[in-house]
Symmetry: C2
Subunit: 348 residues, 2 copies
């Protein structure tokens, strides 16, 4: 139950209904996108397979993205559904290299939700948006009957402006690039898991839920070349990198020993049978840059938040089938796959 399902899933063509795994952000989600959404909505922006859409507007470009949030519980150590919903959309814009400007919020409330809870969440959204310089400019509220929802779901959309000339996205990834993460992984998923199950460890695991505005701005302003940025949300580091490898058709090689994980998260993962690489994050991203710029990028991330332990974790090899190899701590090699179903339902 708790280990990632990496075996080949039943192909979507043999399925007839939605399973919880279709929301996991892994292989099943990708199948759903590939077989149902992408063919129907076909357009260039969708084909870029990035976290958001980048569209030309007058002489500039803008980014546009959306995320629905169904996290349970609504409040957890390190955040709540409000801060998560705002940071999730802000981070997707930042991953497109865009400065977040405007946001929308669509609420689906369940009859009986306490107004105090709603107020707390709305205030958390406002505070979180302000911290990243974004405004929530439009919204909508619907209410469903008791038993047709779960307290509160919120869908945010965001618009950002792209003010530089970097072409950031999976298609810019090249042989010789270096893969860097901005900090230790696995916190958000384990914080939700512990909070949901009422588990206690030596100390509380706090979600890493945070805006990536500062590290991304620092990287964009540094003059280095950035090929790709991607946040490590549902499906975790492993699923994200497998997706990027597949889209860029490049071979990625990772060194497990260099991937930062705190002892607390590693311990919790071991007890519960999770692999940190597949656990969701909400304030971590992979940044892929040419080798010549790797030291500078790492130095910038270290300057912004040294306590997160940013690290170079791997390299991009030649174009091939787009596979990720992991060299384990004991020196063995294996091919990483996407998470197939759902490791932790309703993680975000």
């Amino acid at each position: 139950m708790n280990t990632p399902h990496l075996e080949c899933p039943v192909p979507l063509s043999y399925r007839t209904e939605i399973t919880v795994g279709h929301g996991g952000g892994g292989k099943l989600t990708q199948e759903l996108i590939d077989t149902i959404f992408r063919p129907a909505f076909a357009n260039d922006a969708l084909e870029s397979q990035h976290d958001g859409a980048v569209m030309p507007f007058a002489k500039k470009r803008m980014a546009f993205t959306t995320d629905s949030h169904v996290v349970s519980p609504l409040f957890f150590p390190g955040g709540d559904i409000g801060s998560l919903a705002v940071n999730g959309t802000i981070n997707d814009l930042l991953m497109c290299g865009a400065r977040p400007l405007w946001m929308s919020a669509g609420f689906i409330l369940e009859e009986g939700l306490s107004l105090e809870t709603l107020d707390k969440i709305v205030k958390s959204m406002a505070k979180t948006a302000k911290e990243s310089g974004a405004s929530i400019v439009t919204g909508d509220t619907k209410v469903v009957e008791r038993g047709k929802g779960d307290s509160l779901y919120v869908t945010t959309a965001g618009i950002g402006i792209i003010e530089h000339n970097h072409i950031i996205g999976p298609y810019s990834i090249n042989e010789g690039d270096v893969i860097i993460v901005n900090g230790d992984i696995g916190r958000h998923g384990m914080a939700i898991m512990a909070s949901r199950e009422g588990l206690e460890f030596e100390s509380t695991i706090e979600s890493d839920c945070a805006s990536l505005l500062k590290p991304v701005e620092a990287l964009l302003n540094s003059g280095i070349t950035i090929h790709c940025m991607r946040d490590l949300t549902r499906g975790g580091l492993a699923t994200t990198l497998v997706e990027l490898a597949k889209t860029s058709k490049c071979l990625f090689t990772l060194n497990e020993a260099s991937i930062p994980v705190t002892d607390l998260v590693r311990g919790a993962c071991e007890i519960l049978g999770f692999e940190p690489m597949y656990v969701a994050n909400e304030g971590r991203f992979a940044c892929i840059v040419p080798e010549k710029d790797a030291d500078k990028a790492l130095a910038i991330l270290n300057e912004v938040a040294p306590e997160l332990c940013p690290a170079v974790i791997g390299k991009v090899g030649p174009k091939d089938r787009g596979v990720v190899y992991l060299t384990s701590i004991i020196g063995t090699e294996r091919v990483l796959d996407r998470l197939s179903g759902e490791q932790l339902p309703r993680i975000c």
Copy 2:
């Protein structure tokens, strides 16, 4: 139960939880916005109290809007949740005088939803967007467990570009303006009601769910002055006009005899105890123009879709407390109020 609740509701400050009425688009929804959302998200775009936000971008302006959709049933005569979600957002952009360009879609799927149903809805969304020249460029999917949703909810957001210099919105409404509707009212709400309750009338009532692209483009390109446009969705014609009167602080006078309602809808409303003016529409809007342009505006609407029976239904009087007076068919006068609670839950 079925008649609109127009009596004074318990003020929000005395309530502690969400009721179905908070999703009705009437007085309770407005209270929720005024006491919880607007204070938290305070910014100029929100303060304009329009259907979407209008933001400057380079030398042009753009509009941004969102709507969550929870309509039940998913399929109904004249449309489905997919066409409704796309037209809802497109129409909100059009009401800002914007040409719809880009859309996002955030799905919240319930475990067990059939893939065939999802596919049908997604295809309906794609077709509907294409018909109005919009592209769905980014999206997200979450899955919730059985019993934590109701098959499928979808939140769409949209971006449109404003290419003219009209200042369209409630603050542009002035004494002497004329109020026009583009067609007969009450179809959507009665179609949902009949379909939900399995009611049969002489013929099927079809929802008016449709894009307002054609009439709005024709009005914008005609050279007339447009002061305000607003679609007559949740809460119907009456609630919409009360909101516009309150925001503009003008006196509106309506002539009930001139409000177009089909015999079929009128009959169904009488049987079920609804007032057509409070029933939701999904393809109707009020257009408020200076008196000198009223004939031309009506002629344009008649040219685009004469079968809908567009009509001048009232006038804007002097600035006062922002009240709507209705002269009934038998000549009596009454003040209209917003719908207070929910007339038909999950109408859109």
